[in-house]
Every structure is written in C-alpha cells, then in structure tokens.
C-alpha cells in the first residue's frame, strides 16, 4: 500500500480541480440565488451574462496587452476584471431598466420575468457572438504554475506528481475573498441586511423605508460582479467558449437548488458538492486503486461515468437532494 502517492494523486486529479471548479460554480450559483431571493425568478440569462462579461474582460485584456500593460506573473485579465465588471453591470442595469422594471411595476407574476430573462438571454448570446465570435479563446498569460510536477517530485521524492496551476490558485483565492466579503456584506452592513429584509418580506421592507429599487440595483450589480468573476476565472482555468457558458447554467442552477434556493450559504455548499461529485464520478480511479491495493490490476479504468456525462452528475445529485430533502441542504426559500 502506498498511501502517500495515492493521496497526492487524489489531491492532484480530484481535489484541486474540483475545488477550482467548485469555486467557479459557487460564484455563479451565488448570483442565481441572490436574484431568485430578491427578484424572485430564476435568471436564465445568467450564463450569458457570464459569457458577455468574460468577452468584455478578454477584449479589455487584449487592449491592455497591446498597450504593453501587464501584471508580471499574474494574468493581465485580473487587471481588466474590475473594468469588465463595471461595464457588464452597466449593461445588466440597462436590461433591468428596459425590461424587468416594467414587470415589477405592474406586479407581474414571476414566471413572466423568467420568460423575459430568456429574451435577454437571446440578446446577450447574440451580442457575445457579435463581439467576440464563437471560437475557443485562451487569454491566460503570465506564469503557468505555482507548483509544477517536476518541482513537487524533486521536493518530495514521490513518484506521483502534483501541480497547482496559477489560474487554479487565483480562482480559489478570488472566490474565498469574494465569498467572505459577500457574507460580511449581507450579515453586517445596513444595505446587506436591507437586501435580506426585502427578500424576506417585500412589503414590510417598503414600510421600513427601504428603497426597493436600490435593493434591486444592488442585487443586479452584485450578481453581475460574481458572474463576471466566475466567467473570467472559468475562462482562465479552462478556456473561453461562448457555448460553454450556456452549458454551465445547468450545474449552476443545480448548485443553487441543491444548496437551497435563496440561501447564499447553500449556493456555496451546493457549488462544491456538485463540483466534487462531478470530478469524482468522472475520474478514472485505476491508478489510485493501484497504489492502495498493490497487485490489483482491474481491466476497466474504474471510471463511473465518462466525462461527457458530467452534466448527468449534477442532475442526479439534484434529484436525490430534492427527493430526500426538498428544501435543499440549507433551507432555502422554496417550500
């Protein structure tokens, strides 16, 4: 039995990728859950908000690069990110002004907002395609690895290597900081509490003097910031492809629902649950089994599902959670 190598392999092939992916899902799911809690509908345009935000960040990155600006070892996209967030927020606020606000004014049923969000989804999808096309784009520059396989092997003398890509580390760091900031904001500040109050009881929030339009604007800005961050980190980690951002909508929704829609803590937990299951189920465990049970040579790859079915994992977890715990892991607003 070779526990050290097995652990390193698990860390390298399961834990690190899943943690990075989980952070991206968590950021996306937080936005979905905030919009669900406060604007009271599931925003189908969220994936395309991520896409268009990332597209804007990429264009800005190219602009900075052409001016010779960079962050040394860090990707230039980090510098472009805040500007990208600002521009995308402006765009999203514009859709609120032109589309959603009317339905709040006439107190339309939330399903109308869902339908409207699919319209916005089409528009944003088309704009992304117009802006940057449909091809795969890599925009990570700077250093590639924080820890490379060779370095790790040299340090530890193990046969199994471990790599931590810079993009993964940045993802984890950015996600941790923004989650911390968001929770502090929601639980400690006056505006954050006003958002929770509005989500709890809209009329009473009004009767307390809270300006609902301000709450709504704040929600859009926060959700958009999280979405653009998630999209950019996902693009740095893997690559940018407009269609992928539509596909990631399913795991993001699944994460938000698994955690309990309307519950920010749940969204984060859900993101990691989905990501870890997805990676664990689609990872071939053969090598690790070889370390743990010496002499065992299984003829399959010991892979539960091929990677093409990773979306099935989010789906199955979603169904299981709904069957056994209908309000999600952390009690959300849906019952």
């Amino acid at each position: 039995m070779d526990i050290a190598n097995a652990l390193v392999a698990i860390l390298n092939f399961v834990v690190i990728p899943a943690a990075a992916y989980g952070s991206q899902l968590a950021l996306g799911a937080l936005g979905v859950t905030l919009i669900y809690g406060i604007l009271r509908f599931s925003n189908f345009a969220h994936g395309d908000t991520m896409a268009i935000g990332t597209a804007i960040v990429i264009l800005l990155t190219w602009g900075l690069q052409s001016m010779g600006v960079n962050l040394g070892p860090l990707p230039t996209a980090l510098l472009a990110l805040p500007i990208g967030i600002a521009i995308t927020s402006g765009l999203v606020l514009l859709t609120d002004r032109l589309v959603y606000r009317h339905y709040r004014r006439v107190r339309a049923d939330p399903i109308v907002l869902v339908m409207a969000s699919t319209g916005v989804m089409f528009v944003m999808n088309g704009l992304t395609r117009l802006l940057i096309g449909v091809d795969e784009i890599r925009f990570d520059d700077g250093a590639r690895f924080l820890i490379s396989v060779q370095q790790f092997k040299a340090w530890t003398g193990l046969t199994e290597g471990l790599a931590l890509r810079l993009s993964q580390f940045i993802t984890l760091a950015v996600a941790a900081v923004s989650c911390w900031a968001l929770f502090r904001f929601l639980n400690r500040t006056r505006s954050g509490k006003a958002m929770r109050a509005y989500s709890d009881n809209e009329d009473l929030a009004l009767l307390s003097g809270i300006d609902p339009e301000r709450v709504v604007r704040l929600t859009w800005i926060i959700a958009t910031a999280l979405a653009v961050m998630a999209g950019t980190l996902y693009g740095l980690d893997k690559s940018f492809k407009a269609f992928n951002y539509f596909q990631i909508l399913l795991p993001i929704f699944a994460a938000a629902i698994v955690g309990g829609l309307g519950s920010p803590t749940g969204a984060v937990a859900g993101g990691f649950v989905i990501a870890f299951s997805e990676v664990a189920v689609t990872y071939p465990w053969k090598k690790i089994a070889g370390y743990l049970v010496p002499g065992w040579q299984p003829d399959g790859l010991l892979q539960l599902l091929s990677t093409e079915y990773k979306f099935a994992v989010s789906f199955v977890i979603l169904i299981v959670v709904l069957l056994f715990r209908p309000t999600g892991l952390f009690r959300g607003k849906s019952f």
Partner: protein, 446 residues
C-alpha cells in the same frame, strides 16, 4: 391600460391576418429574387416544411404550458429522443449487430430499470436515516451489475463493422411507423422525469427538464452503439419519392415539362410538396385532437385545475396526476416532431441539438403566437421560423448598410463576419417586445 389591449387582442381577425402575412412571406420568398428573398420555390418550401415541424413542436409546448401551466425547459431532449425512432425502426438491420450484443444491452437496461425501481421501493418503505443509505447501496450494487453486462455488449456491437455501422441497427420497418414510436419514446422519458419532479412539495419540473434535455442529447452523442453518436446516422428511409428516381422517370419528366420547369427543380419541389402534405395532415390531426380534448370533460377539468389549482385540489382532483398526464402528452407531441424532423432531413445528427435553437426558440414561438391557443402557437411557430431563417440573410445585409460609412478595418471585418449572429439578438428583441406590448401573444387565447 392593458385591459383595453386585451379586449382588442381578442379580435377574430388576428389569426387570418397573421396567416395572410405568412402567405405573403411565402410568396415573396418563392417568387421575388432580391437581397432579401431568394426567389426560389424550393427554398420557400424548405422553410415552410421546417416551419410546419416547428409548429408541431410549438403545439407540444403549448399543451404543457397553455393547458397545464408547466414549464418544459428540455424540449431539445424530447425532440432528440423522438429522432432516435426512425433510426431504430426503419433503418436496415445490420448483420451480426444484434447477435453481438443485443441481448446483453437489453438485459443491462433491464437491470438498470429494476435497480431504480428497487431503490424507489426501498426509499419509500424505509424511514429515517437508513432510507438514503439503503437506497444508495441498492443503486451502487445495481450499477456494478449493469456496467458488467453493458460494457462488453457495447464493445461487441461497436466492433461489428465499425467503418460503416458499429451500431445496433434498425428493424427495417416503414419510416412512417417510427413517427408514433418517436412520440412514445419521448412520452416514456417524460413519465420518468415527471414522476420525480412533479408533486414534491412543489414542482421542480423546469430544472429537471433542463437537466434531462442535456442528458438525452449527451447520450445520443456518446452512445455510438445506439445511432453511431457523433458519426451521424445517414440514409434514413423516406416516406416520399427520391429526387433522383423522379428525374429518371419519363412520366415525371413530361409533367415537369408541362409545368415549364427543369426536371431537377421540379423534382425538388415535388418531394417537398409531398412532405408538406404529410406534415400538414399530421398538424391538422393534432390540432383537431387537441381542440376536441380541450372541449371534453377532461379538458374542462384541466382548465379548472389551471385556473384555480387550490379549488380543484379541494374538490378532490388529482392535480399532480393531471399535470403528469399533460406533461407526457406534450412531450409525446414533441417526440413525434423529432421523428418527423429526422425523416425530413434523412439524417440524425446528435451534434446539432442545441438548446437555444430547439428549446428556447420553440418557447419564443409559443409566446409570440399566443400561449393557450393552438392556432396561435402554430402560426407563431411558422412566423418565428421564417424570421429565424431569413434573419441569417437579413442580418449581414443590414450590417453592410450600417457599416458603409465605416473605415475598413478589423472592427468592420468582425462586424460583417459575425452579422449572421444578429438573429439571436433579433429573436430576443421579438420575444421581449411581444411580452411587453402583447403579453398574450399575437393570437391570444379566447
């Protein structure tokens, strides 16, 4: 105020007017050749045929949404599943494929189903913390057995003549038979999803269908043994004559000359007309059935449930069961359309099933046409389909106009190159405008 808009929206002239618009568009596309229209009857009929199929899809969505108030976000999956039927029913049998792994696959699928059933029973019978783990154990054991049976069978099938086949093959039956089978396949999937996602403490149908849609398409893309996956399945038989046969037929040549057309064009038009006839027949039959159902006691009950679920529940109506019914029927109609679409194309291309195109565009059709109104959904579907196709042509034309004053450069090139994507923007705008200014659609429910 919008109440006024409602009353004039209910005008009886809406549907005929929309129909007239469609006829004019059709005539323009067929008869006028300029920057906006192709002037080819072949192209006009091609658009019409897909429009008719879109109308059937829209009808399926309209049944679930308009009558049941259920949101199906996985139209693409049911459509793709229906498309499997022509392959399995009507393509030729592949020698050796069934013997190689047919029984193995069937047995494995059976084990899979039994496992799920058993897990459901276990979960229902037991209580407390045990419930989850016992059900999980059942699924785990079942999954191992399933994989032991399934994997070798699939390898065997895919190894059988991999260059041309590598799949299980069809039954060689008439392709028309596969249409209802496509409906049945989709209905079966819908039963499974609906059973799980309807009638929990609330419904979770939207997310469940979104998921199942992605999964069905993924399965069809990756399971090569089923329908060759991404290798595509071509040569699906037709219910109508082939152009080449027509062109070789002296009788048809004479008729084409009588119409004053060359044989190639005439044969294309004739084949498309045959399809159009079949599609119109199916569409009318479906609309008729749906209207009859809506006027039957069952339909009255559906409407009672829809308009006041709580009251209906209090009167002892099984709301969840009715919802499941209506969801299955809607999915079956979509599956039927899926089978018809693959028949029309003569090709199953699992890579082509994109949710934006086949789920959300169908939703646009229903909303624009008028949810709850069958004719509205049908006319809306054909209209939106026309716009979708033509916007691909009109987008670049429009962009060329806009950018005439611009200096040539990378931006102009990018704009011109990506102009066909404008149709996504256009569809979104159409949906948003209709939702805002005619919320009940162009032909609203009476």
């Amino acid at each position: 105020m919008s109440t006024n808009r409602q009353s004039d929206a209910a005008s009886p002239w809406r549907a005929p007017a929309l129909l007239a618009v469609l006829v004019i568009l059709f005539l323009l596309e067929g008869g006028v050749s300029n920057a906006m229209f192709s002037g080819s009857w072949n192209s006009a009929l091609g658009i019409l045929n897909m429009g008719l199929l879109s109308a059937i899809m829209a009808l399926g969505v309209n049944i679930t949404w308009g009558y049941g108030g259920l949101f199906n976000a996985g139209v693409v999956g049911f459509l793709a599943l229906g498309g499997l039927a022509p392959v399995l029913i009507s393509t030729r049998t592949i020698p050796g494929a069934w013997a190689a792994g047919g029984p193995g696959v069937l047995l494995a699928l059976l084990v899979g189903l039994v496992t799920l059933g058993l897990a459901a029973v276990v979960a229902r019978r037991l209580s407390g913390a045990w419930r989850f783990w016992a059900a999980l154990a059942v699924v785990a054991i079942g999954f191992v057995i399933y994989r032991e049976l399934f994997d070798p069978a699939v390898v065997a099938i895919e190894a059988n003549n991999p260059a041309q086949a590598g799949n299980i093959g069809g039954l060689g039956l008439p392709v028309l038979l596969s249409w209802p089978v496509g409906g049945l396949l989709a209905a079966a999937a819908a039963w499974g999803v609906g059973k799980v996602a309807l009638g929990l403490r609330s419904d979770y149908l939207a997310i469940a269908t979104l998921g199942i849609g992605e999964i069905i398409v993924a399965v069809m893309r990756n399971e090569g043994w089923l329908a060759r996956g991404v290798l595509n399945m071509t040569g699906i038989p037709r219910p109508v004559p082939y152009e080449l046969n027509l062109q070789a037929d002296p009788g048809f040549q004479a008729r084409a000359a009588g119409w004053g057309m060359d044989v190639a064009t005439a044969s294309g038009i004739w084949v498309k007309l045959c399809y159009a006839g079949l599609f119109v027949a199916v569409l009318l039959a479906l609309v008729l059935l749906s209207e009859l159902a809506l006027r039957s006691p069952w339909g009255r009950m559906m409407r009672a449930i829809r308009d006041n679920e709580t009251a209906a529940e209090a009167m002892g109506k099984h709301v969840t069961r009715r919802h499941l019914q209506v969801f299955i029927i809607g999915a079956a109609v979509i599956g039927l359309a899926g089978a018809m679409m693959v028949t029309l194309d003569g090709l199953l291309n699992p890579g082509g099933y994109a949710p934006l195109r086949y789920t959300f565009l169908v939703w646009v059709m229903v909303i624009v046409g008028g949810s709850g109104n069958n004719w509205g959904a049908v006319l809306g579907a054909i209209l939106i389909w026309c716009l979708w196709i033509k916007a691909e042509v009109w987008g670049p034309a429009f962009m060329k106009l806009v950018t005439t004053a611009m200096e040539p450069g990378p931006l102009k090139a990018q704009l011109l190159e990506s102009a066909p994507h404008m149709r996504f923007v256009a569809m979104g705008l159409v949906l948003l405008l209709v939702l805002r200014f005619a919320p009940r659609g162009l032909v609203p429910e009476r």
